[in-house]
């Protein structure tokens, strides 16, 4: 899976979970850039990403991620 593909499917997840079709993700996007991305929504995002990419995060994985780029890298690592 290419980075673009991962980013595209992550964007779908974010749009669904946050109910906002205007969301565009880039590697630099952080939680501060998206108003609806609060702590409860974050759990929904984690769960939806796990389902979307058929993977399971572990305790170490879900330590705070600084931006979407780190999230993409994590998914890449988990799915490779």
């Amino acid at each position: 899976m290419t980075t673009e593909e991962i980013l595209g499917r992550m964007t779908d997840v974010f749009r669904d979970v946050l109910d906002n079709d205007a969301i565009e993700l880039s590697r630099e996007t952080t939680a501060n850039d998206i108003e609806e991305w609060d702590s409860l929504a974050h759990i929904n995002i984690i769960v939806a990403i796990e389902q979307e990419f058929s993977l399971r995060f572990d305790l170490i994985d879900i330590k705070p991620l600084r931006n979407i780029g780190e999230f993409v890298d994590l998914i890449e690592r988990k799915t490779s």
Binding site: D16, V17, L40, I43, N44, V47, A48, F57, D58, L59
Partner: protein, 599 residues
Amino acid sequence: MASDTLEQYFSYPLNPHALLRKKKALRRELSKRPDLAEKRVAMLGGSTTAEIRDMLELFLLHAGIRPVFYESEYNRYYEEVMFPENGLREFDPEIISIHTTSANILQFPSVSDTAETVDGLFSGVMNRFTDVWNRIEQEYGCPVIQNNFELPHYRLLGNLDAYDIHGRTAFINQLNHRFAEEARRRRNLFLNDINYLAAWFGLERWHDRLFWYSYKYAMNYEAIPLLADSIASIIKGIYGRTKKCLVLDLDNTLWGGVIGDDGLQGIRIGKETPEAEAYTEFQQFLKELKERGILLAVCSKNDEENAREGFTHPDMVLSLGDFAAFAANWQPKHENIRSIASTLNIGIDSLVFADDNPAEREIVRAQAPSVTVPELGCDVTKYIAILDRTGLFESVSVNADDLERNRFYTGNADRAREQEQYASYDDFLRSLDMVAEIAPFSSIYLDRIAQLTNKTNQFNLTTKRYTLPEMQAMMDDKRYITLYGRLNDRFGENGLISVMAGTIKGVELHIDLWLMSCRVLKRGMEAAMLDRLVSKAKEQGLSGIVGYYYPTAKNSMVRELFFDMGFSRIDIPEVDGTVWHLDISGNYSNKNLFIKVKP
């Protein structure tokens, strides 16, 4: 989102991932629905409840209830109840849901404890909860939905854990046993059986330690929609919003094969083959559903003669007499389902449709979206599990009327046949030898009075809903005049079928409640009820009765009731409906002509 797309999120079996992912859009769409009844729900948690609240909101909105939530701070369920000045009192909850789990058992026995110490620990846990329930009873008197306990995530003693007094498994089982006893004893305590839910979901998956350590959720995230659905089923039961009738296809649903093609000898039912046995067990399940008060109906594409012949099979568990309605013809199924609802005088939204054919399910979903259509599949070995897990028929108690209900409806079919033989409808009514008992609310009938009040939609002038404690308060308060009505005739009992209640203000009685079960429509019972209300009001020296009609989507049949009963309309602009007045200061002549009312 189109309504059929919306419905698919709530059809059974549930898809937890889809619900969690689309939560916000679903909430937005469901909130647009008209006629949502607002309810104040307090969620008091022993662990994080945010997602449970969100999911519960979806299921309640879907059932026509708009919850307003109060959420305790993390693990403050005990303090919130015992020290309500924190905000719970001001919120004035109508329902309290206590979300505790095995994680809230502060101290389990350790292997070196004496029997006395173990008993002490047990009483400690029990007292904490009985304190909470007692306080809620005194302070709010509202229904409490209480989780029991799921089994622990490890067993220090292995199998011995289940029976040694030091075992956690044994400790939890004993607590669950006591919780059940308490719930049987307390009218307002309803158990949410997470012990069953966790077992069904899979205990290993349920105990997701990562989510516990990371977010303090006491269960797997995927289990949360199921947990919320379970709480919602109880709330729907409390407010009488459960389904009343299961409409069934015949070929490959009730029996294997197609009666029209395979003939009576060819269909599979009985004990001869595994397939036949599976259909037999499914029919036994349906028979049990019927015995606990769910109406059964047939809706099948078949020649009526063939369909009826199927029930002459010697191994058939269900018989024709088990069905309150029977539609076997070649009309589209959604049309038959509509006529079944009107024959039985129940709302179409109280029907559930079970059919092995995906095309028929789709057409009913599209053409009659208020009918619930579970994804039954076409594998008979799964039918019971799918219907049972929906919680659609969940009720919070089983009362005598539930057990008799099918008989009432079957009696109705006999009455309908008889009606055709009389010259006039009046002659027919006279021939029924109806006898009514009309009296103030009494404790023995209070469960049924509350149930009828909360589920009657059509013959209901005000559609006000009351909890059991509220009805109890009305019963005990001299400022109210309350009446229930029971009706018998020569075909049998109809049970408790009508409720009236009014508030005395000055010299007038204001009618808060007037409702009647549709199974006794057009029998003149409403006149008998009004007569008794007037005589009670006169005894109290009142000179007038004020009636209110609040229109809803379902109660247009009683729009002119007050007019028909001789009330005159008065205009009160701020009332969202019509207001009526009846002068009873002079002579009042009874309106009931056909029913003998017990003194």
